[in-house]
Amino acid sequence: MPATFSRRCLGCLLLLLLCTRVSGGTPAGPAVATEKLKPASKQNSQSVSEHEIVLSGAPVEKSVSVPSPTKVELTCKLDENSHLKDPQVTWKKGSETISHTSKSRNSWTIQLTISDSSHLGTYTCILKGEKELSAVFHLQVPKIEGREKPIITYEGDRAVMVCKTEYNPKAWIWYMNMTNGTGQVSIDKVLPTDKFLIKRQSAKVSRLEILKLTKEDRGVYWCEASFDLGTSEARFELRVLSFTAPLKPFLAIVAEVAILVTAIALLEVYSKRKEKRGEKESDQIEQLKSEDVPRRRK
């Protein structure tokens, strides 16, 4: 994820305007369509998953998640508008060449049976002609979502870490780094149940709750999902603050507001007094004038 501040701002503008929606829930439309449109992937009933990349110029990479042993078909297709004619096509995994078949005039396919983790990796198709075009497929264990930014919590509160994935893992394990630096310890074993709660909300979501937080609970936590072909991990960083941390800015802002309001009130009182003084003076002038007139008459 790009880390520049402006990008983050845009990200949150997106989020905040999305969330003005009432509880109509997420429409099916965008949920379905937020997959990348360019490469299409399908899964047919014989559990052969097909993945295709259309090459037009720039090199393209695609990640393919393989949760369980399956057959996979990878296709490189040449864009109709491309000028490359009759290229020489090679499929490679690492340095090893794989034989391919040509399904149609401008597409080349390899079929793979993924049965253990050695079959995962990076597969490249290279088209050589006047120019060289390439596409890369990364076959890997499904990634799990964690949180990149640190989670901020407070003493006495509880911390919640949620791990999600799109596929069904066999098991979830949570680890934490012991503060005396002895490496990772599985939380299941440590388990005082009034302190650590692990809930599996659904097959795809696992939730760790840490209750009655203290400063010692801060650090790094890991969530690991095991699939048939391997495991994947997500990292969480927990920070525990004391409640005085936000209290200081809070009091500062309240003091500022109080000062502003008093200043405005004083300004108003002062200007009213000036006005009254001004009025009094003009009244006096009027009085003097009106006294003048009869005197003159005399």
């Binding site: 701002c9 845009l10 109509g24």
Partner: protein, 500 residues
């Protein structure tokens, strides 16, 4: 004491001076009221994970807040009628602060609904209406500009709150952020402190000047003193008149008000949904998340510029007398943008759409309250705005879910855009036609009035039924302190010019 010759040449609203400070205060206040519910969305994912609820349950927080802000409009109006703008806004600011601070200690989502939804929402309602009302009291000639500037607070606050909320969230988590946001909302009290009460254009003394007083710009005439005398005589109307004292239900007989109400209620059905669905639509057409967010930024920036610009245009000699037409045009233009949106499927097309949408959105928002003031006069505006916001509350909340249902049913965004566009074009046309009719009726009534002027009058007469609500003499309400009235000037509201 003013010389007798000065009677009949009372000062109008300041149209400047402290008025601009009031506009700044209103800018802050309105900005918080509109932008704050949207800005909270950054915290929703974290709150959802923390309480283990679904996304919709968390989104209810925002909806409850929005509903309370609009729904508590009449209460706001009643309080302003009774106490004036300043105390109400300051109390509203305090309430917002208290709401958010208590939200920082919440332990369940229901408590969040109450603290953030109801309490803070109510506080924001007490901010929004009085700010709009007091701008109308301080300005007449330059009112459209003042309104445009004050309403520009919304996009500016949104652009400020979004990164600020993100920063607070990353450094303090959601609880700490709510605490600090509570303190930030206290700035509404500062805005309220700036709302110096201003005298109404009421006659303290019966003047020999005839007053064709219907559209005369009065700050706020409370019917306290004289009303009480009268109601003792007419006991049948006792309760009704007491209610009318605080919230002017007779507005429902006001032609202009009804036109505005129907038109706006219709318009809001299609007003907010496109903003909500713009980013998902962009992602649907294959644009990445950050470029989609960029579209919304373009919208916000164009909106920010469009609002004061519209105010200036609406204030010009050519537009001001026919400001209702301009408003209808803005709404129809907005609708046309939405109707054309499905044709834009490339990123450049969407950028163009966002810019025009931002422009149209800004135009409509800048004139939203100005046109209402124009129709009912600043005096009855207090009650009018309350009644209008509670009516709009329903359609505002219905708009996005209906759009969502359309998208779900058809699986395509274009029907949602077509629906929004059609509704707004319809609303714009309706307003255009009805206002044409209204202008004509007003011109007729004006002629009638001029004809009646042949007869000498010593009392204000009750003219053609629609826009009048004269009382014989008035008592100072809470707003009438500094500026004492020495007489009254006839002002023609519809022409927007002041006859000196």
């Amino acid at each position: 004491m003013p010389a007798p010759a000065e009677v009949g040449r009372a000062p109008g609203p300041p149209d400047g001076g402290w008025g601009w400070v009031v506009v700044f205060g209103a800018f802050l206040s309105i900005g918080f009221a509109y932008a704050f519910p949207k800005g909270l969305a950054i915290f929703f994912k974290e709150i959802q994970d923390f309480f283990g609820t679904s996304y919709s349950e968390v989104a209810w927080v925002s909806s409850i807040m929005l509903a309370t802000t609009y729904g508590a409009g009449p209460i706001s109006s009643i309080l302003v009628n009774r106490y004036g703008s300043r105390p109400v806004v300051m109390f509203g600011g305090l309430l917002c602060g208290v709401g958010m601070v208590s939200a920082a200690f919440c332990t369940s989502i229901l408590q969040l609904y109450v603290c953030v939804g109801f309490i803070t929402g109510f506080g924001l309602a007490l901010n929004l209406q009085p700010s709009v009302i007091i701008v109308g009291k301080y300005f007449l000639k330059r009112r459209p500009i003042a309104n445009g500037l004050a309403m520009a607070g919304s996009p500016v606050m949104l652009c400020t709150l979004a990164p600020l909320n993100q920063f607070l969230f990353e450094n303090f988590g959601w609880r700490g952020s709510f605490l600090i946001l509570g303190a930030i909302l206290l700035h509404c009290c500062v805005a309220g402190a700036l709302f110096r009460p201003i005298g109404a254009r009421t006659a303290l003394v019966k003047t020999p000047v005839t007053e064709e007083g219907n559209d005369a710009l009065k700050g706020k005439i409370t019917e306290d003193g004289p009303m009480e005398n009268r109601t003792e005589e007419e006991e049948g109307k006792d309760c009704f008149e007491k209610i009318n004292q605080y919230l002017d239900f007779s507005l429902f007989k006001h032609r202009g008000f009804l036109i505005y109400l129907i038109g706006n209620v219709l318009m809001f059905l299609g007003f907010f949904a496109p903003i909500v669905f713009l980013a998902p639509y962009a992602k649907h057409t294959g644009i990445d998340e950050y470029s989609a967010a960029f579209l919304l930024s373009i919208l916000a920036v164009v909106d920010m510029v469009a609002r004061p610009a519209t105010g200036i245009i609406a204030n010009s000699r050519w537009v001001r007398p026919r400001i209702q037409y301009f408003f209808s045009f803005a709404i129809a233009f907005n609708g046309a943008c939405h109707l054309l949106c499905p044709l834009a499927s490339s990123y450049t097309g969407l950028i163009v759409y966002s810019s025009f949408f931002g422009l149209a959105f800004g135009m409509v928002c800048a004139m939203l309250f100005e046109t209402l003031m124009d129709l009912v006069g600043a005096a009855r505006f207090t009650s009018a705005v309350g009644l209008v916001t509670i009516a709009e509350c329903c359609t505002i909340l219905l708009g996005p879910p209906i759009g969502g249902i359309l998208i779900d049913t058809f699986g395509d965004y274009k029907y949602m855009f077509i629906k929004c566009g059609a509704v707004m074009v319809l609303a714009g046309t309706f307003l255009f036609i009805m206002n044409y009719y209204n202008y004509r009726m007003l011109a007729k009534e004006e002629k009638e009035r001029k004809r009646k002027e042949e007869d000498p009058k010593s009392v204000r007469t009750e003219d053609e039924g629609k826009k009048n609500w004269n009382k014989d003499s008035t008592q100072d309400g809470p707003e009438l302190e500094p500026l004492r009235e020495k007489g009254e000037r006839v002002k023609k509201e519809m022409n927007g010019t002041v006859e000196v």
